[in-house]
């Protein structure tokens, strides 16, 4: 297994700027089989620019990434590949907000939703991996070690990427949210504008050294962006400063009528 992973050496972000690179590193067998795919035939699926520092190599084909129970983080992981033209399947997340997925960058036109994969979900997952480049799964039940290894082998064979919303013992990479702060909302005024999140990535092999980055997850328009360098670490105890996003300029007027915001008389606001 390790040998196969080593063959899809991560591309450094400086080198390729996140663009899929000619398939010089993909396995020949893969290249032949993937000829009908929509994505250019490379060994990695691209990720959003905001996630490039956390996942310097993108998402290597055949790998498993665990992203905990943070729905938007899972969607952000899948968004890069979807933007590049890959088909994504989302299984076991019946309450997924498709509008949020679209905001994060997933193309709803290339999305398959399987709300309930049922008790035979390993079969379903294997079928989905055959057709889709990326599968986001919340396993309905904890798989046995044998089933888990078999599914990892299926993922490698089909050259897909499995993003697990939850934990997965054999994941090559794990992402988690360490801290989160909402911006734009007060006690009785404002509204949810953006969330600043510290995401920590660790894993095996090349990803063994934990990396941590601050992201807007989501940003004010639903997109996922990196918190700019000057504002990387919010001062301890201080509330998030929404001025740095330029949200202050958006004003309440852009929301249009019918979203009255603070215009409602309130007897006992904070």
């Amino acid at each position: 297994m390790g040998a196969e992973i080593a063959q899809v050496t991560p591309l450094s972000p400086q080198q390729d700027g996140g663009q899929p690179r000619p398939a010089d590193r993909a396995r020949p067998a893969d290249r032949a089989r993937r000829g009908d795919g929509v994505l250019p035939d490379v060994g990695v699926l691209p990720v959003l620019p905001a996630l490039r520092e956390l996942l310097p190599g993108g998402l290597p084909r055949g790998s498993v990434v665990a992203a905990g129970d943070w729905s938007l983080l899972c969607l952000a992981l899948a968004a890069g590949a979807s933007l590049a033209g890959a088909w994504c399947a989302i299984a076991g997340l019946p309450a997924l907000g498709v509008a949020a997925a679209a905001g994060a960058g997933l193309d709803p036109g290339r999305l398959l939703l399987i709300a309930d994969p049922g008790a035979g979900w390993p079969h379903v997952l294997a079928s989905l991996l055959d057709g889709c480049d990326l599968v986001l799964l919340r396993p309905p039940s904890q798989p046995s070690a044998q089933v888990r290894r078999r599914l990892e082998a299926v993922t490698r064979r089909h050259g897909g990427v499995l993003v697990v919303a939850g934990d997965w013992a054999g994941a090559q990479c794990r992402l988690s949210v360490a801290r989160q702060e909402w911006a734009g909302i007060g006690t009785g005024h404002g509204r949810l504008r953006a969330r600043r999140v510290q995401v920590v990535a660790d894993g095996r092999g090349a990803a063994a050294r934990p990396l941590s980055r601050w992201l807007w997850l989501p940003g004010p328009d639903g997109a996922v962006t990196a918190v700019s360098a000057g504002h990387g670490e919010p001062e301890a105890g201080g509330g998030p400063d929404i001025g740095e996003l330029g949200i202050g300029e958006l004003g309440i007027g852009e929301l249009g009528i019918g979203w009255p915001g603070d215009a409602i008389p309130r007897r006992s606001a904070g």
């Binding site: 498709v98 509008a99 949020a100 709803p108 398959l112 008790a119 057709g131 969330r195 639903g222 409602i264």
Partner: protein, 505 residues
């Protein structure tokens, strides 16, 4: 075969009290009546279904063939009773009279289960036996030719089933159909208009309109029998390919194509396993065979004892019959993909999606279509893979008051009940003028642990579709709440209770 002008026209109505008059025309109840119609069709191919529970045939021809009206009525009622449905028959000169004759109470000792208690006609006072009453043993009534007007005369005008007449005519001193029929036809038409003219024809024992028989539809399905039962999938798939070719040839001969195919496999133990397959283009014979393979594979996977979910249908004892039924016929016009704009689904994705559909069912694999609407839950319409659908609420309209971006990442299909209290533990309420009783301090979703509310905004009142009070009207006051664990929620107060609509996790 024509009928001499003026010759008595005879109608036989079959009434099944199992279907009360209010039964909707579509739906499973109405489809159950198909069995009765099929049984009656054996006697006369042109059956008119009046409503679920009542159908009629022209009786003149069949009566000659089956040895008289009484014999025909007896044969039909026996055939329907054999299916397990209570049934009565009535024969008269008009459809209206035949229906009443079929429902005439208390004439047939042979009728085991009486007329449905909900039937308005059953409560009507028994008419005098002016026609030839049914003989003992015949569940039904035969009104002699020419006796129809006299048969109808004692019935109250309410049987016309025109609400305004049921009220108006008695006030004019017209209580029975006989009274009404005595009015000159022209006067009835003058005074009561077209409905009055129709009702007057009915009261005189004529037909308000000629019988409109339903055409028996040609059976376009094909089937293959396996003897001995096929244990392996391969022979079934091979046979499916030739069967699909035959089905397509049969359709093409009529200039038709089908959008869906129903694949029905019958197992040796009598179990039927059915799946509907749809394809945006035409299903070629190979494509049908491939779908049969997926369907069988799906059942095989379901048969694995360690991985089968309870209640799942499983293949048992080999397959004895495979039947392909074309569904949703369209005129064969060929199909051309748009040069631009059509989302092209690669074969690889389609194959994977269809295979999952074989395992979980057609509606298990959905494609989202972004829609309009104000709720986060409304803003997406799910369409089964392979179907095409347009959202009910169009996207791209302003939708003032919709939840602004960023959208919540988790939208509960059914809002979760919640409790939100203020500092003193009292539930927070919102007045009709959108005034909050107290700042929300604590939140418990679905009876879960209490979380401290660290930030909140709202209320944003929503009063939607007030004009459709019974269907979809809604008054809500929305809040955004941030709790101590860092999660943010979209909550709403409706009818004094708190709901969590979505979570920004």
């Amino acid at each position: 075969m024509g009928r001499a002008r003026g010759a008595a026209r005879r109608v036989l109505a079959v009434w099944c009290p199992d279907w009360p008059p209010g039964t909707p025309d579509s739906g499973p109840e109405a489809r159950g009546f198909e069995q009765v119609v099929a049984a009656v069709e054996k006697f006369c191919p042109r059956v008119e279904v009046v409503r679920p529970g009542m159908c009629a045939i022209g009786a003149t021809g069949p009566a000659r063939y089956f040895g008289g009206e009484e014999s025909l009525a007896r044969k039909i009622t026996d055939a329907v009773t054999a299916l397990g449905f209570a049934c009565r028959a009535g024969v008269a000169d008009s459809l209206f009279a035949a229906q009443l004759a079929a429902q005439a109470p208390g004439l047939a000792p042979g009728l085991a289960s009486g007329p449905a208690p909900g039937s308005a006609h059953a409560a009507a006072p028994g008419p005098a036996r002016t026609g030839a009453p049914g003989r003992a043993g015949l569940p039904g009534l035969i009104v002699a030719p020419g006796g129809t007007r006299a048969f109808l005369a004692p019935y109250p005008v309410s049987v016309l089933d025109v609400p305004e007449f049921a009220d108006l005519l008695p006030r004019l001193g017209i209580w029975t159909l006989g009274d009404f029929a005595r009015l000159p036809a022209a006067e009835a038409a003058n005074r009561f208009g077209a409905p009055g003219k129709r009702a007057h024809r009915l009261a005189r024992g004529l037909d308000a309109r000629p019988l409109a028989p339903r055409q028996p539809s040609a059976d376009l399905s094909v089937h293959v029998d396996f003897d001995p039962p096929a244990d392996q999938a391969e022979p079934v798939i091979f046979a499916a390919k030739t069967a699909a070719e035959r089905m397509h040839a049969g359709l093409a001969a009529r200039g038709l194509a089908c959008v869906r195919v129903q694949v029905q496999a019958t197992c040796a133990d009598g179990q039927d396993i059915t799946r509907l397959w749809r394809h945006a283009g035409l299903l070629s014979a190979l494509a049908v065979a491939e779908r049969v393979r997926w369907q069988l594979d799906g059942w095989r996977a379901g048969r694995d004892p360690d991985e089968r979910s309870p209640g799942e249908t499983a293949l048992t004892g080999g397959i004895t019959r495979l039947r392909l039924v074309p569904d949703q016929l369209v005129r064969a016009e060929g199909r051309q993909l748009g040069l631009w704009g059509d989302a092209v689904i690669s074969d690889r994705v389609a194959r994977a999606a269809t295979r999952v559909q074989a395992m979980l069912g057609h509606a298990a694999v959905m494609r989202p279509v972004l829609a309009g609407g104000r709720d986060p839950a409304e803003q997406v319409t799910l369409v089964p893979f392979g179907d095409s659908g347009t959202p009910l609420l169009p996207a791209g309209r302003p939708w003032p008051g919709r939840i602004p971006a960023p959208a919540p990442a988790t939208v509960y299909p059914v809002p979760r009940p919640a409790r939100v209290t203020d500092d003193s533990g009292t539930t927070v309420t919102v007045t009709g003028r959108a005034v909050v009783s107290a700042p929300p301090a604590r939140l418990s979703a679905d009876g879960g642990p209490w979380l401290t509310v660290t930030a909140w905004a709202g209320p944003w009142p929503v009063n939607e579709r007030w004009w459709a009070a019974a269907v979809s009207a809604r008054r809500r006051a929305r809040f955004q709440l941030v709790t101590g664990d860092g999660n943010a929620w979209l909550a709403a107060v409706q009818d004094g209770g708190w709901l969590i609509e979505a979570s920004y996790d």
